[in-house]
């Protein structure tokens, strides 16, 4: 009896123990799996972000835009802010701009001012003047290093000096040394730019603010390459060594009044009777002098420099002139600038080829505010325009990326519906990893030659690694054509135009919600109608140096713009091409060309852009490119990547012994931007980010690209991005084994219980 009872009691006490044991195993298994998956999907600690921690107080080192920066050692002086005066003269095919910045030093110290500002990407900067009191100092063009030495020397000697350097084709830096207490300094830049023409409308654009950029900062973690590596090895240094010098503070519009008042006046000498004149983002007052000349100024007087100024005008006549020919004689050469708009020919008999359109939308933090609204509206409009026999796909990216469909799908109502709700739900947040998105858009898996492949890329272009994007396009473009759609009040036009050029497409700018429909309609006319292809230009008598070397295809309503350097101005130029399947020829007699101004500089600027493109596409070596650019820049007095303008006042003004302080001035956030989306919650917090690539089965990798707009001054070093080389095989197998073991334990336990009964 007793023994029996004991056994019974033993069993009863054993049972809960076993249950507890099993429960323990279950919990342990679940925990292991959870931890495993969490580790797979979550990111690691940002251990490599040490360089981020440097700015403890609100240094301006986190955003760049165009303005004079006034920095004093201990922080910010309540410095007087910059006044800007932009004076534009349109004559015939070109616009000459004189940008004057008025800077007052209200402090009691001698200061060095550093000023970062945007200019149009196609602008040729050829003049720098510094006005101090009643003295005017004119700048000389020099090689960049040499100019820097001259400037530094003058700075040491206490002489006033100004230096203009190019950071990007559309971002420049001015440095001004030795501005005395209470002094006022004027810096005057002049540039030349060709007008934009689209259909009947001519337009010009003045960028006013450099939007804060996102830089996928390569931060090197550990290095031990051989020291005698012959120049190859690891970049240990900061990719932007002088970031603090050139990074203006961006003011939070919620707590600061706008700064940098800007005055704009335009003298418009169109050369033909003027019709409608329109400013897209500013209210203007037009004073008509005669039929073809008008003076334009801003209604409100000075406006804050927080959005681009765009002016467009149409001829009074029904049609704009479709041909323009202008010449200039400089030295012993003649320069020619030709605008030709090919006729719009409908493809009546032949049905257009169906298209495969890949839409890419940027939903990074810089797109916050109205930009994302514009981008979404544009994309939804575009989806509605697809034909049933077209195919499409949608890619969205910030620092992560999603591809909506595994491959391009037919544009039927179900797919369009899914895409529309996908786009409608997008929120702007995070960094801007544009390169992986471009790679995904260009991966042409089907390769179906029955479809015309087009990539429509909607972004504000606020990145600093432009060169990386260009190289991606040039390497992977295949048969795809890239149509850039610039969104927002201050898009990066250099990125847009160069990307479109390399991708053999076009650039469309949408600056407000109202413009969405009109501009997207224009873009679709370009997408749907045949381009003018196989273009060649031939001069009958003169030997000519033509740019662009390879004439790009021309889309509907766009003009062909051609610049050439000629030895003599006789004969004619013949332009041949194909519109769809029809040949097209036009002959322009050179004798009829009208006198133009600054055409030689435009030719040189265009040649420099050609050289940069050749470098990107690896057609020319970096050395050859640099040599070509340097020769052109020195001959035509242009500021380039390799040349700077420097002006030095002969008489020293700063008494020796007086210290010199560096001064920086803050700038506005571009209009419509959301400060918190760009800089975080009113203070910059290191954000870790994840990258998701759509082309692999694995989920996410942590990347150390920090959400931080960094100065975009130096080009990102061209480095190889290594692919991801880990599989989750082990993880899967281990969790599989754990689960199997667990089920086995449960199974055995259940069996035992069953048999006990």
């Amino acid at each position: 009896m007793t023994t029996c009872d004991e056994i019974e009691a033993d069993k009863r006490s054993e049972q809960p123990r076993l249950v507890r044991l099993v429960l323990f195993f279950v919990m342990q298994g679940v925990a292991v799996i959870l931890v495993g998956f969490a580790a797979l999907f979550l990111s690691f600690e940002p251990v490599w972000s040490a360089e981020r921690l440097q700015s403890a107080f609100l240094k301006p080192g986190d955003a760049r835009a165009g303005s004079l920066l006034l920095k004093i050692d201990e922080g910010y002086a309540d410095a007087a802010r910059l006044g800007i005066d932009v004076d534009l003269t349109v004559s015939g095919p070109t616009v000459r701009a004189r940008v004057t910045q008025i800077f007052r030093n209200p402090s009691k110290d001698w200061v060095e001012a550093i000023y970062v500002y945007p200019l149009p990407a196609g602008g040729a900067v050829d003049s720098l003047k510094m006005v101090i009191g009643d003295r005017v100092v004119v700048g000389d063009i020099k090689e960049r290093q040499q100019a820097k030495i001259v400037y530094e020397q003058a700075k040491q000697n206490g002489q006033k000096a100004a230096l203009t350097e190019q950071e990007r084709p559309n971002i420049f830096t001015n440095s001004l040394a030795n501005i005395g207490p209470g002094e006022t300094v004027l810096v005057q830049i002049e540039y030349q730019e060709p007008l934009q023409q689209s259909g009947d409308a001519f337009s010009l654009r003045v960028p006013m603010v450099v939007a804060p950029r996102y830089n996928p900062a390569p931060v090197v973690q550990s290095v031990d390459f051989k020291p005698e590596g012959g120049g190859w090895g690891l970049v240990k240094s900061d990719p932007v060594p002088d970031r603090d010098r050139i990074s203006p503070e961006v003011l939070d519009p919620a707590t600061n009044a706008p700064v940098n008042p800007t005055r704009i006046t335009v003298r418009l000498q169109a050369g033909f009777p003027l019709g409608d004149i329109k400013s897209h983002y500013h209210a203007i007052e037009t004073e008509k002098l005669d039929a073809s000349t008008s003076n334009i100024r801003l209604v409100e007087g000075p406006v804050p420099a927080d959005r681009d100024f765009e002016l467009s005008w149409k001829p009074a006549a029904e049609k704009a002139p479709s041909v323009g020919l202008f010449r200039e004689h400089v030295g012993d050469s003649d320069y020619l600038l030709a605008f030709v708009t090919p006729p719009s020919i409908e493809q009546a008999q032949q049905k257009p080829m169906p298209r495969e359109v890949i839409f890419v939308i940027d939903n990074s933090g810089s797109m916050g505010g109205v930009s994302i609204v514009q981008a979404k509206a544009s994309l939804i409009y575009a989806l509605g325009r697809l034909q049933p026999n077209d195919r499409f796909n949608v890619i969205r990216f910030d620092h992560t990326m999603d591809v909506l469909f595994p491959s391009a799908v037919p544009a039927d109502s179900e797919h369009i519906g899914r895409a529309t709700s996908f786009v409608g739900a997008l929120q702007a947040n995070g960094g801007t990893e544009m390169v992986p998105a471009m790679r995904a858009a260009l991966s042409d898996n089907s390769g179906d030659a029955n479809y015309v492949r087009q990539v429509v890329f909607l972004t504000d272009g606020a990145i600093g690694n432009e060169q990386q994007l260009f190289e991606t396009i040039s390497a992977l473009r295949g048969r795809s054509r890239i149509f850039m759609v610039g969104i927002g009040s201050a898009p990066n036009t250099y990125l847009m135009t160069r990307a479109a050029e390399l991708g053999r497409g076009t650039f469309t700018h949408i600056g407000s919600v109202e413009q969405v429909e009109e501009r997207m309609r224009g873009l679709f006319a370009k997408l749907e109608n045949p381009a003018v292809t196989n273009l060649v230009a031939k001069f009958t008598d003169a030997s000519a140096d033509i740019t662009p070397v390879a004439i790009p295809d021309i889309y509907r309503d766009e003009p062909l713009v051609l610049a050439a350097k000629l030895d003599k101005l006789t004969g004619s130029v013949e332009i041949k091409g194909r519109i769809g399947d029809r040949p097209w020829t036009v002959t322009l007699p050179l004798a009829n060309a009208a006198e133009g101004k600054g055409l030689s500089k435009l030719w040189a600027r265009r040649k420099i852009a050609d050289a940069e493109v050749a470098r990107t596409t690896r057609q020319a070596s970096p050395d050859e490119t640099d040599k070509a650019i340097l020769a052109l820049a020195l001959e035509h007095q242009l500021v380039t990547r390799l040349t700077s303008l420097v002006a030095v006042d002969k008489t020293p003004s700063r008494p020796s012994g007086e210290p010199l302080k560096i001064s920086e001035l803050p700038i506005n956030l571009p209009a419509g931007w959301d400060f918190e989306r760009v800089f975080g919650e009113r203070q910059r917090v290191p954000a870790t980010q994840t990258e998701r690539r759509a082309d692999t089965e694995e989920a996410r990798v942590q990347i150390a690209a920090l959400k931080r707009a960094q100065p975009v001054v130096t080009q990102a070093p061209s480095t190889v991005t290594l692919p991801r080389t880990a599989t989750d095989a082990e993880l899967k197998m281990i969790s599989g084994v754990i689960l199997l073991t667990l089920s086995l334990i449960l199974f055995v336990f259940n069996r035992r219980q069953m048999s006990l009964r």
Partner: protein
């Protein structure tokens, strides 16, 4: 029998997960056999030969480390699809034997698992798709971030880089890459 459902379910999920993991390894092993054949054919015919009809890549080189008895066929491109089958020749880097840097990349747990055993001084033979063989000697190893490799594909000299994920025993993806750097010492005998 509701009490059997849980263990059965767990067993099923476990099997699926294990199967997926094993599938990755199986794919990697099987593909190499097919790739080896395709590569032999490429060398013989001098034309790009796809290892199987639907492949979107083709073999471009063979990596061999004689000391470890390790070998692998390298594929063109380093997309996720290609890397599942074999090491990839990273886009925009040079071919082996050319002036500059050739970068090959593969998964740490399959084709490049042998990299953890590679030591400085090891010789790596690369056979190109045109049949020429080049010998490299390992001189350094390092760990870098994937987006800060600092590799300039146009650097002077003749370099080879093998890259894989770091650390080797980690179970998850990480941003770090292990690089084995080697410099060409000679065209291997009898290569031409």
């Amino acid at each position: 029998m509701p009490r059997f459902i849980l263990p059965l379910l767990l067993a099923l999920i476990g099997l699926i997960l294990f199967g997926q993991g094993a599938y990755i390894h199986a794919k990697a092993l099987l593909a190499q056999v097919l790739l080896e054949r395709a590569f032999e054919k490429t060398i013989a015919t001098g034309r790009e030969t796809k290892p199987w009809s639907w492949a979107d890549t083709w073999p471009v080189a063979r990596i061999e480390v004689k000391r470890l008895g390790a070998r692998a066929i390298v594929l063109a491109g380093s997309s996720g699809q290609a890397l599942a089958f074999g090491p990839g020749h990273v886009e925009q880097t040079r071919d082996a034997g050319e002036r500059g840097v050739a970068v090959y990349s593969a998964h740490r747990d399959t084709h490049f698992a042998f990299l953890k055993n590679v030591v400085i001084g090891d010789e790596i033979d690369i056979t190109r798709h045109d049949g020429r063989t080049f010998r490299y000697r390992v001189d350094t190893t390092s760990v870098v971030r994937f987006d800060a490799s600092g590799i300039d594909p146009l650097a002077d000299g003749y370099h080879l880089l093998l890259s894989t994920c770091w650390p080797f025993d980690a179970l998850t993806q990480g941003p770090e890459r292990y690089l084995v750097h080697a410099t060409m010492i000679a065209d291997a005998p009898g290569s031409r």
